[in-house]
């Protein structure tokens, strides 16, 4: 009975949250539509004009093609920075000497402007696909390291001792004892990483690639075509939001279901 009441309360709360988000998005789009109609200026196109441009670019195939290229770069840079950053962060959180050795480098990378990293990597390694992905990953790496280092410092020594006492293998300990404790930190790094990486990917494409959403935005910037700039931008935002809603959020809920 109590369980039923709790789940009903939870469902009501989720519905309330969803409708609030829907109202917020509707108010934004409506305000934009009204403002653009009143302004009647090509620098502020209406919502419907942007949607029309998105549809036209989708039918022509340009939008899905460039979107796919950019998403590929986001996925590669995201995976690289998350894997390397997590491994390094966990190691630095566990081993004080390694932390002391790399701490300065991490701080420097944290404070280095993304543009500087991108330009230097393009200058040193050429405007290649690998250099582009490495430049993006390197920009995200230090924040992942810092987040996971904090996570590794909060690991429960009691559970580590329990695993040792039961002679659990290193792999079993990592999988069942360490990684679940780090899950909130990994998800925090992943979510902030996704938000940061797609922005940097667009800059990299604008500076040194000949395709992708960033490159298209650069072309339409030169043509002063705000409608197309917004069409590409919103298409990409939509895709990233779908990844967040349909991928990361359910995965996080599943990984932390034991807390409820």
């Amino acid at each position: 009975m109590a369980g039923h009441l709790v789940s009903r309360h939870l469902a009501t709360s989720i519905n309330w949250e969803r409708s609030t988000r829907l109202v917020s998005a509707s108010v934004f789009l409506l305000s934009w539509q009204i403002a653009a109609s009143l302004a009647d200026n090509r620098l502020l196109p209406t919502v419907t004009a942007v949607l029309r441009a998105m549809l036209q670019q989708t039918i022509s195939g340009a939008l899905p093609w460039n979107l796919a290229i950019t998403l590929g770069r986001v996925a590669a840079a995201f995976t690289l920075s998350l894997l390397l950053g997590s491994a390094l962060g966990i190691a630095m959180g566990r081993w004080r000497r390694l932390d002391l050795l790399l701490d300065n480098a991490v701080t420097v990378l944290l404070n280095l402007p993304a543009l500087v990293v991108i330009v230097l990597i393009f200058v040193w390694f050429g405007m290649t696909e690998i250099a582009a992905i490495a430049a993006v990953a390197l920009n995200k790496l230090p924040t992942t390291v810092v987040t996971l280092r904090e996570g590794a410092r909060t690991l429960d020594p009691g559970l580590a001792e329990m695993a040792e006492s039961f002679r659990m293998s290193r792999w079993r300990t990592l999988r069942h004892v360490i990684l679940p404790q780090l899950a909130p930190y990994i998800f925090a790094a992943a979510r902030s990483g996704l938000a940061l990486i797609w922005k940097i990917v667009l800059v990299v494409e604008l500076l040194g690639r000949s395709n992708g959403v960033g490159f298209q935005i650069q072309i339409y910037f030169q043509l002063f075509d705000v409608t197309m700039i917004l069409a590409y931008t919103f298409a990409f935002i939509l895709v990233v939001q779908v990844i967040e809603w349909a991928g990361l959020q359910p995965l996080e809920r599943w990984a932390t279901r034991w807390r409820r």
């Binding site: 009691g158 559970l159 006492s165 039961f166 079993r172 069942h176 679940p180 034991w258």
Partner: protein, 237 residues
């Protein structure tokens, strides 16, 4: 150590000594130098014997248990196992130390080197935990979580179980129930048990032998062999 075990009273339990522990000394390294914790201690433990280490809080009982469990190797002395091989040891820590993201049953299965769901199921039954098999530890009371920790220790088919104050901070009814269920489990799967407690009554109700420990640096003050007629007087549940 105190006097040797009396012949006849502990014959079966001591028949096969699985562990001989000799501690010459053990210190903790602190900012203010070495802090001696354990003095000279000798313990021999039979294959089906329950030995209780009784002493005041902070006297080093848990440190002794950590040494036996192989979690602390920084001591002067020797730990000799029967056949020279460290046996399977099931440890019950003072705090249950269950994995909060695994259900009760999964906590038992994860401790096993090779998954043995039948043994896990039998232990959940023996410790009255079947209704909570699929519950996460956060939903359990402390008493239940402690019983899960005991089940987990026995789930690896151990040759030695280390119990570190398994019923501390529980109300008397829960303590009595916990002791009964522990003894039932042990009777079904007899094994060597080293029990740390500060409660002499608990030691007397569970153990074959009681080693009374002195304060730091800890040594054995007295060895008491619990009379046969009083031994494990707790009625089976």
């Amino acid at each position: 150590m105190g006097r040797p075990a009396a012949a006849g009273t502990l014959g079966n339990a001591m028949a096969q000594v699985i562990l001989r522990l000799h501690v010459e000394s053990k210190s903790f390294h602190t900012d203010r130098g070495e802090l001696p914790v354990l003095g000279r201690i000798d313990i021999a433990l039979g294959g089906r014997e329950i030995v209780a280490l009784v002493g005041p809080s902070g006297c080093g009982k848990s440190t002794l248990l950590r040494i036996v469990g192989g979690l602390d190797t920084d001591f002067q002395g020797a730990l000799d196992w029967r056949g020279g091989v460290m046996p399977h040891i099931g440890t019950v820590f003072q705090e249950p130390r269950l994995l909060p993201w695994r259900t009760v049953r999964q906590n038992l299965l994860l401790a096993q080197r090779t998954a043995n769901p039948d043994l896990a199921g039998a232990l959940l039954h023996a410790l009255d935990l079947v209704p909570f098999s699929d519950a996460f530890p956060a939903t359990l009371s402390l008493g239940m979580a402690r019983r899960v920790a005991i089940a987990r220790a026995f789930a690896i088919a151990p040759e030695l179980v280390l119990l570190d104050e398994p019923f501390v901070s529980l109300d008397p009814a829960m303590v009595a129930r916990g002791r009964k269920l522990l003894l039932n489990t042990w009777r079904a799967r007899p094994t060597a048990v080293l029990l740390v407690t500060h409660d002499r009554a608990e030691a007397a109700s569970l153990a074959d032998r009681i080693l009374l420990l002195a304060e730091r640096p800890t040594r054995v003050l007295q060895e008491i062999i619990v009379p046969q007629e009083l031994r494990r007087s707790t009625e089976p549940a």
